[in-house]
């Protein structure tokens, strides 16, 4: 289990996260939702070791994760994608994956084979030798997920994987995430604004607003919650 307890993060005077606790089980799909600036990405940064919390702690399988060791956490299976995707533009799509496979201990030849398998799995086989900056937006996002899968995640943290996708693509993404959970046996945390996708995909939701937890539970419970309705749907009628 990946668990964050009583996390507080400040940027100067701004409290981006205040006293938030959350846990991600292996094999569950957890939705992390909230309006813009709620602190969702900051929370993922904390969980993945990119952001040192000012208070609180993160534990992986009961053990505290050290400060600012994002690379080590990634190698132990806590892997995240980026809201801005951040592919390696000058490397080929295959090499984008091979970097992570190398971190997981595979030699170059084995990494090449495994990258081909993963790209095939993601329906990106034809793109393997293209440079990372020559893809369509949807493809780019999928390569970002494939690159995370290269690290054999136990916990996969997806920061707005459906941003910029059309309705059809977003639905396909939902299916893909379920398939990944089944095939990789990993817990998935998804940050997502599209409520339809969230409702269909997530077994549990955690709602942030202005850095605080305002609701958590099953999607049905959360949507009935008055705090959620006023803070979230009120702020963002959609």
């Amino acid at each position: 289990m990946l668990r964050a307890t009583d996390i507080t993060v400040r940027f100067g005077g701004v409290r981006a996260i205040e006293n938030v606790s959350m846990a991600l089980q292996r094999t569950e799909i957890l939705g992390l939702i909230g309006p813009n600036g709620a602190g969702k990405t900051t929370m993922v940064n904390v969980l993945s070791g990119f952001q040192q919390p000012h208070q609180g702690s993160v534990t992986l399988a009961g053990e505290k994760t050290g400060p600012l060791r994002a690379d080590r956490l990634a190698r132990s299976g806590v892997v995240r994608t980026f809201q801005a995707v951040r592919l390696f533009p000058g490397l080929t799509v295959s090499e984008n994956l091979e970097v992570g496979l190398g971190s997981r201990g595979l030699g170059r030849a084995a990494a090449r084979r495994r990258a081909a398998e993963l790209l095939d799995y993601m329906g990106l086989a034809a793109r393997a030798h293209m440079p990372g900056n020559a893809l369509s937006y949807g493809e780019e996002r999928r390569v970002g997920i494939a690159r995370a899968l290269a690290l054999q995640p136990n916990f996969l943290l997806l920061d707005e994987p459906a941003a910029g996708l059309n309705i059809g693509e977003a639905e396909a993404l939902g299916d893909l995430i379920r398939r990944i959970r089944a095939d990789f046996g990993c817990g998935v945390l998804v940050i997502e604004h599209n409520m339809k996708l969230v409702m269909g995909l997530c077994e549990r939701l955690h709602v942030l607003a202005s850095g605080r937890t305002i609701a958590e539970g099953s999607p049905a419970d959360v949507f009935r919650d008055t705090a959620f309705r006023s803070a979230y749907l009120g702020a963002e009628p959609a």
């Binding site: 690379d71 994608t81 000058g90 080929t92 090499e95 091979e98 440079p131």
Partner: protein
């Protein structure tokens, strides 16, 4: 359908792929070999020029190993060359020579008399050790911080060597190095340096480093230990650059600390940037290209008589340096990825056309060489 047949015979595509991956190495070794063979037919003056060029190839390849793969600026090449050159000089000079030029050497060093090969290796190892020791604190720097730190390292080498009179003769020239470096020594060393750089860049550590070059944050997200990978590259780079210094000393037979200063640093960085710092081909082609350019300019600067006329053409002194800076500026402005655009020399990837050499878009997808 040709593809499906070769797919069924499992080993064939793999073997062909393995060979294909060696093409960038073979092409560059071939270029160096051709240069050596052609120069062998020329006169002694030409050969000396070519040897200089080959030594620069070694130095720029050394620089590339770190700077090209990591994307981190490095202005310390001249310092590593100096350390390699003086180490090898002190270990290989005849004791009689040393007692003349360096009377204050410690006794064990005054007596040391290694063979050229061991001296050269010691020079490379010394430079590699310096990279290891200095690299541990500075490898977390990138951008302007790394530029300043490596430039400072170069200044420190210059000042220490220039004032450590007992060891280097200080501001005076150190003479009497065995000058064993000829065309083939320089050529073979260049080929070995290219092979070392190639083998290194095929490791997973080097790929991880290139990932960090493209995006440090994403590389950490992919589990890359950035500082460690940079340090490994810096040490290999230091070794190869040190060897370039060894060649330099044992080619000229004399050493001056002044030779390892800003001019050389700027020359090496220019060679790499003009060639294209993101590929080994860029390092080699940049070193050769700038060498040819400076030779041509030297001819013009000295002045020559236009054939068939009595007009002599001579340009103002300093033109060479200006042209070097101009070449750098033009490349940075109009072709920031360098002449090679960051590509290696490869066979075209498509299955139908298998003849001829071309550069494929391995990197930025822009135009070819």
């Amino acid at each position: 359908m040709a593809a499906s047949i070769s797919d069924r015979i499992g080993w064939r595509p793999a073997a062909r792929d393995g060979l294909r991956r060696l093409v960038p190495l073979a092409a560059l070794v071939g270029i160096v070999l051709t240069i050596v063979l052609l120069a062998g037919m020329g006169d002694i003056v030409l050969q000396r020029r070519v040897i200089f060029c080959l030594i620069h190839v070694v130095a720029v390849v050394g620089l590339y190993i770190f700077m090209g793969n990591s994307g981190v600026m490095n202005f310390s090449s001249a310092g590593f060359m100096a350390v390699g050159a003086y180490t090898s000089a002190l270990l290989t000079m005849a004791p009689g020579m040393k007692s003349t030029f360096l009377p204050d050497l410690p006794a064990w060093l005054a007596a040391a008399h290694l063979s050229p090969l061991w001296g050269a290796l010691a020079g490379g190892v010394m430079a590699g050790l310096m990279a290891l020791v200095i690299g541990i604190p500075i490898m977390r720097l990138s951008g302007i911080g790394a530029a300043i730190a490596t430039l400072s390292l170069m200044f420190i080498c210059y000042i220490v060597l220039g004032n450590w009179t007992a060891l280097t003769g200080g501001q005076q020239s150190l003479m009497g190095l065995p000058s064993y470096v000829g065309l083939w020594t320089a050529g073979l060393t260049a080929m070995v340096a290219i092979a070392v750089a190639f083998v290194y860049q095929e490791t997973r550590g080097a790929l991880a480093l290139r990932g960090s070059r493209e995006d440090e944050v994403a590389a950490r997200g992919s589990g890359v230990r950035i500082v460690r990978e940079r340090l490994a590259a810096f040490v290999v780079s230091g070794f190869v650059t040190g060897i370039a210094g060894v060649l330099y000393g044992h080619f000229l037979g004399t050493l001056r600390v002044e030779s390892f200063y800003l001019d050389l640093t700027f020359l090496l960085v220019t060679m790499l940037v003009v060639g294209g710092m993101r590929s080994l081909a860029g390092a080699v082609i940049g070193a050769i290209g700038i060498s040819i350019l400076t030779e041509l300019l030297r001819l013009v600067e000295v002045g020559f008589v236009l054939p068939g006329t009595s007009w002599s053409i001579a340009t103002p002194p300093g033109l060479g340096d200006v042209a070097l800076a101009a070449a750098m500026l033009l490349i940075i402005l109009f072709r920031p990825q360098g002449l090679t655009g960051g590509h290696e020399i490869e066979l075209p990837r498509s299955k139908t056309s298998t003849s001829g050499l071309a550069t494929t878009s391995g990197n930025t997808g822009t135009a070819n060489v």
